[in-house]
């Protein structure tokens, strides 16, 4: 079986851990690979992702059944579009509960679409438990812990065991001081054309590119690991 595209959910039950930034980077990574991309902003009222990626982002809610239908029915349709979900912390529980109940991951797999969960790790008990629960509930999704290095050293890494045969840890390196103000003012875009056009000093531009390259390398490895896991799974099925 070959994968047609992927759906990546950027998640954490904690606020302000860098979910939206990671979702932006991921969407831009896929765009840079010439993939058709759709992003979904599930943050109550904030719309940060929508400000940075206005043409690609749908603001969604899953509070009621109509919202759930609008979101999930679109996620399973159009298999050739790569999808990125910025899942707000206050929708975390409900989102995964619905996902589990309706058999979303299985349906996506049936349509040759990989589902990945990028889980930003933090040392608190809630997150550790949430990660453990996702591991138990979504055996067919690729669950990858993400270490956002701006949150400090990850001494709690052992609390987030990697899934056997699944993706490894994804690192989100710290951006050099002084550069954050560029990327955090909408409508900044990580697209090369935008960065060249924006009034960013050359040194800063180079530093940003270096940072992006490191992240994209992580994403590329993640992609490969998901492909590899899928290949291994299909070999096991055929033998």
């Amino acid at each position: 079986m070959s994968l047609r595209s992927s759906i990546t959910i950027v998640a954490s039950p904690r606020p302000r851990v860098g979910k939206t930034l990671l979702a932006r980077l991921l969407a831009n990574f896929h765009l840079q690979q010439d993939r058709s991309v759709a992003a979904f902003d599930l943050n109550a009222g904030e719309r940060t992702l929508a400000q940075f990626l206005p043409e690609k982002t749908t603001v969604a809610t899953i509070r009621d059944i109509n919202g759930q239908m609008a979101l999930f029915d679109r996620l399973v349709a159009d298999e050739d579009t790569t999808k990125v979900i910025d899942l707000g912390h206050d929708s975390f529980e409900l989102f995964f509960s619905v996902t589990h109940q309706i058999g979303f991951v299985e349906e996506a797999r049936r349509r040759s679409v990989a589902v990945a969960i990028l889980f930003i790790v933090t040392p608190d008990h809630t997150s550790i438990e949430a990660y453990r629960s996702l591991r138990a509930r979504f055996a067919r999704a690729a669950l990858a812990p993400v270490h956002n290095e701006i949150l400090g050293p990850a001494q709690h890494r052992d609390k987030y065991p990697l899934v056997g045969g699944g993706p490894g840890l994804v690192r989100l390196p710290v951006l050099a001081p002084g550069l954050r103000r560029y990327i955090e003012t909408p409508p900044f875009s990580f697209a090369e054309s935008n960065m060249a056009a924006a009034n960013i000093p050359l040194a800063a531009h180079i530093e940003l590119q270096r940072w992006l390259r490191r992240i994209y390398l992580e994403f590329r490895e993640l992609d490969l690991r998901i492909l590899l896991a899928d290949l291994q799974a299909s070999i096991r099925l055929n033998s």
């Binding site: 059944i65 239908m69 999930f72 029915d73 399973v76 109940q101 309706i102 058999g103």
Partner: protein, 252 residues
């Protein structure tokens, strides 16, 4: 040949989800490859027939000729299981009629497997109905179904009162039908297809349909839970013990 099984699905009140339970039963037996036929006593309308037109016949259970149609054919019909959706308020009188024609006697002798699914409504009148049916039932397989599909609030009942009625029927078992999302329920109604067809995204004639994936997911999850309840009370063993043992043999 396995002996025929008759399942009465009834309630003393309308609107407690009797037909819904009958539909899940028909789907359940279908999934277990047990040939099933159904009688809908909501004569002349027939809600059940709308969902399962091929195996449902609408009858007037109070008329002798229709009683013959149902009970005289038990041995000869291809279907091993007969599900009868008894119209609201007719449960007691139907059971009485079954006593009169000697049907309950045959059930007692073990010539026929007989089970009753009594769907409970939210009011105390339902409980009095239990007492009344208990009198007629003897030791048939009796299932008290708490139907939460539309989120009826049962537990306004006093548990002591409930238990005192519940204990009047020997070996009665409780079945809980969980809540199903309203819109999912409505869309199956609109589609007028069996639950399994809705889950499989199929229309009434097996053609491809275009139901919402989310709603199909909710129905699949819900139906799985309902069937889990039927599994728990060993419903397949009850209606088709022979077939089940064959399956076990094949499975080694």
């Amino acid at each position: 040949m396995a002996r025929p099984a008759v399942i009465l699905v009834g309630a003393d009140k309308g609107g407690v989800g009797k037909t819904t339970v009958a539909r899940t039963l028909i789907d359940y037996f279908g999934a277990h490859q047990t040939p099933t036929r159904a009688f809908d006593t909501e004569w002349p309308r027939g809600t059940l027939k709308r969902f399962h037109p091929d195996l449902t016949e609408v009858v007037d259970v109070t008329s002798v000729s229709d009683q013959m149609k149902i009970f005289d054919t038990l041995g000869s019909a291809e279907a091993k299981v007969t599900v009868i959706d008894v119209r609201a308020g007719l449960l007691s009188s139907t059971l009485q009629a079954l006593t009169d024609i000697g049907f309950l006697e045959s059930a007692k002798k073990g010539q026929i497997t007989f089970a009753v699914f009594h769907i409970l409504g939210p009011s105390i009148a339902s409980l009095e109905e239990i007492a009344e049916t208990a009198r007629v039932m003897g030791d048939a397989n009796y299932f008290l179904v708490k139907n939460f599909i539309n989120n009826t609030t049962f537990f306004e009942w006093d548990p002591a009162t409930y238990n005192s009625y519940f204990k009047r029927i020997k070996g009665a078992e409780e079945i809980t039908i969980p809540k199903l999302n309203e819109m999912a329920y409505e869309q199956v109604e609109v589609a007028s297809v069996p639950f399994v067809s809705f889950v499989g995204n199929k229309g009434a004639k097996g053609e491809a349909a275009n139901y919402s994936f989310v709603l199909r997911g909710y129905v699949r999850h819900w139906l799985g839970n309902v069937w889990g309840e039927f599994d728990r009370v060993k419903l397949v063993d009850l209606v088709a013990p022979k077939m089940e043992s064959n399956v076990r043999q094949v499975a080694g």
